[in-house]
């Protein structure tokens, strides 16, 4: 079965978000901004003023550092854009969503259904995953213009807040929905049925490691 393809605004209506189903393919139009640990720490921990009107300008937070440069004349060149793994940002996301009204969190690998149920759904937000994690050139083609780069001086190119105008930027895959269900956990559960057969005949290592036991009074030999 071929996945469903949808065009979505980066300031989506609640109805448009409710429509999305796990595994749908999404293409985005409108303004999107990048924010990862650097931006979160600066905005939430150091309480710096966010240099955009959120969510009216954009409700789409991309966990991304682009392959890009700032030219001597102040213009920008953006080549490829790809997401970075999102699970590391769970610490800041609830407060970020509350503060910025972000409705689309876009990144790599998704979050857990616990994250989705506890603060995505209550904030009316869903998670969109990039595809293959390597479709940087395709996503780059969806960048109509780089509108601004904020906090480059403070955070460096990779952590700065890039504001991107997208036109049919994609593909992205819908990885959470308004039930708080998680696409990756659904797939994991299907794959798990086969694990026993694949591992048949293998044996655990002679020398154990902490992590396999979290009790530090245990020996690992």
């Amino acid at each position: 079965m071929k996945p469903r393809e949808i065009r979505l605004s980066t300031t989506p209506t609640p109805e448009a978000i409710a429509e999305l189903r796990l595994g749908d393919i999404v293409y985005l139009d409108g303004l999107m901004y990048t924010a990862r640990e650097g931006v979160y720490m600066r905005a939430l921990e150091e309480k710096a003023n966010i240099p955009m009107e959120l969510p009216s300008e954009s409700a789409a937070n991309f966990h991304c550092s682009p392959a890009a440069r700032i030219n001597a004349d102040g213009s920008f060149d953006m080549g490829a854009v790809t997401a970075t793994a999102s699970f590391r940002f769970a610490k800041w996301l609830p407060e970020w969503m509350e503060k910025t009204g972000a409705k689309l969190i876009i990144g790599k690998g998704g979050m857990t259904s616990r994250d989705y149920k506890s603060y995505f759904v209550p904030n009316g937000a869903v998670y969109l995953s990039t595809v293959g994690y390597g479709t940087g050139a395709l996503l780059g083609r969806g960048v109509e213009n780089v509108e601004a780069v904020h906090w480059n001086e403070e955070l460096g190119l990779a952590q700065a807040m890039w504001v991107i105008r997208c036109r049919k930027m994609g593909p992205f895959i819908v990885a959470s929905d308004m039930n708080g269900d998680c696409l990756f956990e659904r797939e994991n559960a299907k794959i798990a049925q086969n694990i026993e057969r694949v591992y048949e005949g293998t044996k655990p290592a002679v020398l154990k490691r902490y992590g396999e036991s979290d009790d530090r009074s245990d020996e690992v030999i």
């Binding site: 079965m1 071929k2 996945p3 595994g23 393919i25 991304c64 550092s65 682009p66 392959a67 890009a68 440069r69 060149d77 080549g79 490829a80 854009v81 790809t82 997401a83 970075t84 793994a85 790599k108 690998g109 998704g110 995953s129 595809v131 293959g132 994690y133 390597g134 479709t135 940087g136 050139a137 395709l138 996503l139 780059g140 083609r141 460096g156 190119l157 990779a158 952590q159 593909p171 895959i173 990756f184 797939e187 994991n188 299907k190 794959i191 086969n194 694990i195 694949v198 591992y199 005949g201 293998t202 044996k203 655990p204 290592a205 002679v206 020398l207 490691r209």
Partner: protein
């Protein structure tokens, strides 16, 4: 004498090619995977990846926004001489890395581990790594750049002889399961396994097995070559495909490299070279010729030699 300007110019070209053009051997492997894949979502992902390679090449933009951590492998024929000496060579490679980061552009990924200082050019303390190898004959120098991802898909474990092949399989599967879920390893990947050596060399062997051998190559030891086939199939039988979705393509190929280790141990490392397997190779001759090729051809009989003396004639006769 190999002109230093030619080294820098060639290195810049290699940086560009590695970031933009998927190597032919990996592309062939992924096309084959796309043909056999029957998971809905996995199929969609593989097709998008193939489109992405086309887009990157047509637009001359990087395949992936995370352009990895650029590094260099340099191999010298025994009679090679570099204008300005080896320190000049290292400077040329650092310059090429910085220039290409701004030129392609690449993402300036390299930062100080504690202070997070970013020079915005992928150059810093120990970066890019430059590693060396030598061959018994030749006046040429091989430049190989690899821009491997930096965070997921790699693990090390000290196994022991009593763990046996079944223990090796277990750790291999554990690594694929750990990093394959949600596709953090950016599979389907070229999986490299390092067996033996001391701890650091074990990691090096596995890394080189994943990034310096091509898809379809086999270890010169026929029993290890058999293991490579078996491990490829084993990885693809998990039922996990691209992005951790249900599918049958996780391993584009599995390469194993070995080194002699402590008699009591059997250290093992696993590495995954991702969907944007960025590598580029060129050989430079003293007369100014530059030959680009896909195969790093790192693991020659000389690199895998077991004997005290190097006696190529006798080895060839055996």
């Amino acid at each position: 004498m190999i002109p230093i300007d030619l080294i820098q110019k060639t290195a810049e070209t290699l940086m560009d090619k590695a970031a933009i053009e998927i190597p032919e051997d990996y592309l062939t492997g992924l096309q084959e995977a796309a043909r056999t894949e029957d998971g809905d979502l996995s199929s969609f992902v593989l097709k998008a990846m193939l489109d992405n390679y086309e887009a990157a090449k047509a637009d001359r933009r990087a395949m992936c926004g995370d352009t990895g951590v650029p590094r260099w492998f340099v191999k010298l024929g025994n009679d090679a001489k570099v204008e300005g000496g080896m320190c000049a060579l290292e400077t040329a490679l650092r310059r090429a890395t910085a220039t290409a980061t701004n030129g392609v552009p690449l993402r300036p990924n390299r930062v100080h581990p504690l202070w997070r200082t970013d020079h915005n050019n992928n150059v810093g303390i120990g970066a890019p790594e430059i590693e060396y190898g030598f061959e018994p004959e030749g006046e040429w120098i091989d430049l190989i750049t690899v821009h491997k991802g930096g965070l997921f898909g790699t693990d090390y474990r000290m196994l022991f002889p009593s763990d046996g092949i079944q223990g090796i399989k277990r750790f291999y599967l554990d690594s694929l399961m750990a990093f394959g879920k949600r596709g953090l390893a950016c599979q389907p990947a070229i999986i490299g396994i390092g067996l033996g050596g001391s701890k650091d060399i074990c990691m090096t062997l596995g890394k080189r097995a994943s990034v310096l051998r091509t898809v379809g190559s086999r270890n010169s030891d026929p029993r290890i070559a058999e293991m490579e086939d078996e491990f490829k199939e084993l990885g693809n039988s998990i039922g996990m495909g691209a992005m951790g979705f249900v599918g049958k393509n996780m391993v584009i190929d599995c390469n194993i490299e070995v080194g002699y280790c402590h008699t009591g141990g059997m250290p093992m490392s696993v590495h995954a070279f991702c969907l944007s397997s960025r590598r580029a190779v060129a050989r430079i001759y003293p007369d100014g010729r530059v030959e680009h090729r896909a195969d790093p051809d790192w693991f020659t009989p000389y690199q895998r030699r077991e004997t005290v003396e190097w006696e190529p004639v006798r080895e060839a006769a055996e």
